[in-house]
Symmetry: C2
Subunit: 400 residues, 2 copies
């Protein structure tokens, strides 16, 4: 809290917005497309890898990146912003089967999701390292930029020194603590909610791709089987019934296929979004721990983010430090001016957290609105198509 401000570097202003403290947002939001995965080789074909094409809307010029480059970017962002901004993990590294088409498609989709989330963040997307990643000019530019980024000294809690709340009053300790507790409670509760939805979603996925379509298929087969038995009766006037019964049976077989394919069309996106949020929410405990040591259950989650040394963070948890401030002044370990500076710095940190939460909430409302709409739209289509198919099957029967 008493560390010096870094000599240079971009300042990060925080403004007072309608919803509370907010980061400074660019006029045009950066966006980028991750596409066109290509297999590349190195060392005369001994080593092969997948390269993705990343095209930012700003330059509209594609650059190539391997997964390990994304991982490098993640590390830089985590070092630089991790104390103030939750940087979600990249999609899992997977060693076996990593050239399988399905896996590559899934990873690309998730890298796209991760990039989009980073693009949307005003602080991350405007940072030098992120700009380098999406728009380096050539190999030399990339190499030089990489070296510079790796030497960046504004890492860890240093980031707070660059944050400058504009036109807002300093917060007192109680306010800071209240906000901190509120965010902690919220992110914990949302984490539970998201995991709950993921659990039932997973079970539903299994049912929809496993036993349920099998059952519809068996119903379809049973109808068709009965139809072919009827057909063998040698009795006159079977045809109208047997044709209709066969059609009904085939309809249920079609429904079986639809049921099995449906999760990919709707549940998939819902699950992916919730998985992303699970990842993001898993970062909050660390971000909040910079402000205040929260009692576990969070400590269990640390395993997700080995790079942030929780022990270190705990020692410098800001609220506890400021609380100790008076004692430190009394025992002349720091002087009253330092104490005032510490409180002021804590206020800055709280504004940063509040700005981050505003950012999180805005995105969350947008994302969940969108994903729920997409989910329900596909569900409606699904049930309507089934109803339509069955209506047609029904019309094949003779009214008696």
């Amino acid at each position: 809290l008493l560390s010096k401000q870094p000599a240079k570097g971009t300042k990060l202003p925080i403004y007072s917005g309608e919803v509370g403290p907010v980061w400074s947002y660019p006029e045009h939001q950066l966006d980028c497309v991750v596409a066109d995965p290509k297999k590349g080789t190195k060392m005369y074909g001994l080593k092969s890898y997948i390269e993705y094409q990343v095209t930012p809307t700003t330059t509209n010029r594609p650059v190539n990146h391997r997964y390990k480059h994304f991982d490098w970017l993640y590390e830089r962002l985590l070092d630089k912003f991790g104390s103030a901004i939750p940087i979600p993990c990249l999609p899992d590294k997977q060693v076996t089967g990593r050239f399988e088409e399905e896996f590559i498609k899934m990873r690309m989709e998730r890298l796209q999701g991760w990039m989009l989330r980073m693009c949307r963040h005003p602080v991350v997307s405007s940072s030098d390292v992120f700009q380098l990643f999406v728009s380096y000019k050539d190999e030399k530019d990339w190499k030089t930029g990489k070296r510079r980024a790796e030497k960046d000294e504004t890492v860890g809690v240093m980031i707070f020194s660059t944050i400058e709340p504009q036109g807002v009053q300093d917060l007192d300790l109680t306010e800071v603590e209240q906000k901190c507790d509120q965010f902690s409670r919220f992110t914990k509760a949302m984490d539970d909610g998201v995991k709950d939805l993921l659990n039932v979603g997973n079970e539903h996925w299994k049912r929809c791709t496993g036993p349920l379509p099998k059952e519809y298929q068996r119903i379809g087969k049973a109808f068709q089987n009965l139809s072919s038995v009827f057909n063998s009766s040698g009795f006159q006037g079977e045809a109208s019934l047997t044709d209709a019964l066969t059609a009904a049976g085939k309809t249920y077989e079609e429904i079986a296929l639809m049921v099995a394919e449906q999760p990919k069309k709707d549940l998939h996106k819902l699950m992916e979004t919730n998985n992303e949020y699970k990842g993001l929410l898993g970062c909050f405990p660390d971000t909040i721990a910079v402000h205040k040591v929260t009692p576990s259950p969070y400590s269990l989650r640390q395993s997700f983010r080995p790079k942030l040394h929780t022990g270190l963070m705990r020692k410098c948890a800001a609220i506890e430090k400021v609380k100790e401030g008076d004692k430190l002044v009394a025992t002349s370990k720091i002087n009253p001016t330092d104490k005032t500076a510490m409180t002021k710095r804590l206020s800055v940190m709280s504004y940063a957290l509040q700005a981050e939460m505003s950012h999180f909430h805005t995105n969350r409302i947008y994302d969940y609105n969108l994903v729920m709409q997409q989910y329900l739209e596909e569900q409606v289509k699904f049930y309507e198509t089934i109803a339509e198919k069955l209506r047609h099957a029904h019309s094949e029967f003779t009214t008696m």
Copy 2:
């Protein structure tokens, strides 16, 4: 086959119809309603029973019958017509819980189904004993009629003596055998088909009333849970999302209820019809055995119909007897005139079986057409209602 014709009794003509030999059908089909189950008591309240009201369309005057009266009727019909006409078993007798509302309702429904099937049969419905059952005038009339029916001597294979094919040629042994084999194959195949459908129907029922609605309920709860977490964010502009998310969650809870209730609305009737046919098809082996000894698997089914002594039937299986005819003539055990009479009688039996099969097929086509239409109609309604509910849930979200 050489038994004398009974002295009196109604003759049962068989005509040559469009679909082959047919029974003589009445101009107006008898129908009756089984309704209004009432608890009655006997012996000063020591014994209690359920009495059903049976109202035939002919008299439109209700008569009361207990289950044991239906059972009595079943025994009479089986004795009298069982060799020529498959008389399906009554719904199971159940001792424990027989006064539970659900059980009474189900039994009544099944008795109704059984009565309807008997009413539809021209031979059964026009028989004295059946007419007595549905339209006895008073207790005395019932008692007298009961005694008379119990003394009826035209039982077992005697029924064939009353059957008179009109304006048709005698069939030769090969034709008879062919028809017999064809019916045997068909009823066996349909029996398998029906059981297959019943099996998958039962599993589907369990899934639809067990794990599936539970899952939809959990999805609904997960959405609502997330909504209430979002609501606690303290962030502005949550309401439009949280309200919509709650509505979506409630919709899935409603869907859960719909899924659980649906089998009663559609699968139930489909299963009941197939159960009826399973019962009916279980009677055919015995009916066919009168004509020809068929190798098992049918022998396993005999347990269903203890009243028809299969051993006896086998001994008098008509086709085998006629085949032995020449030998019997050669050894002077019967004379050639008897042999001719035997062949003629076999022809009559075959006409009876063919008339019965025509009756069966006609009813089967009607029943399956109807039940499939009802099933699909309800299924369409079900999926349309879900789609409609989800469309409404979707409209609650804000387009962004």
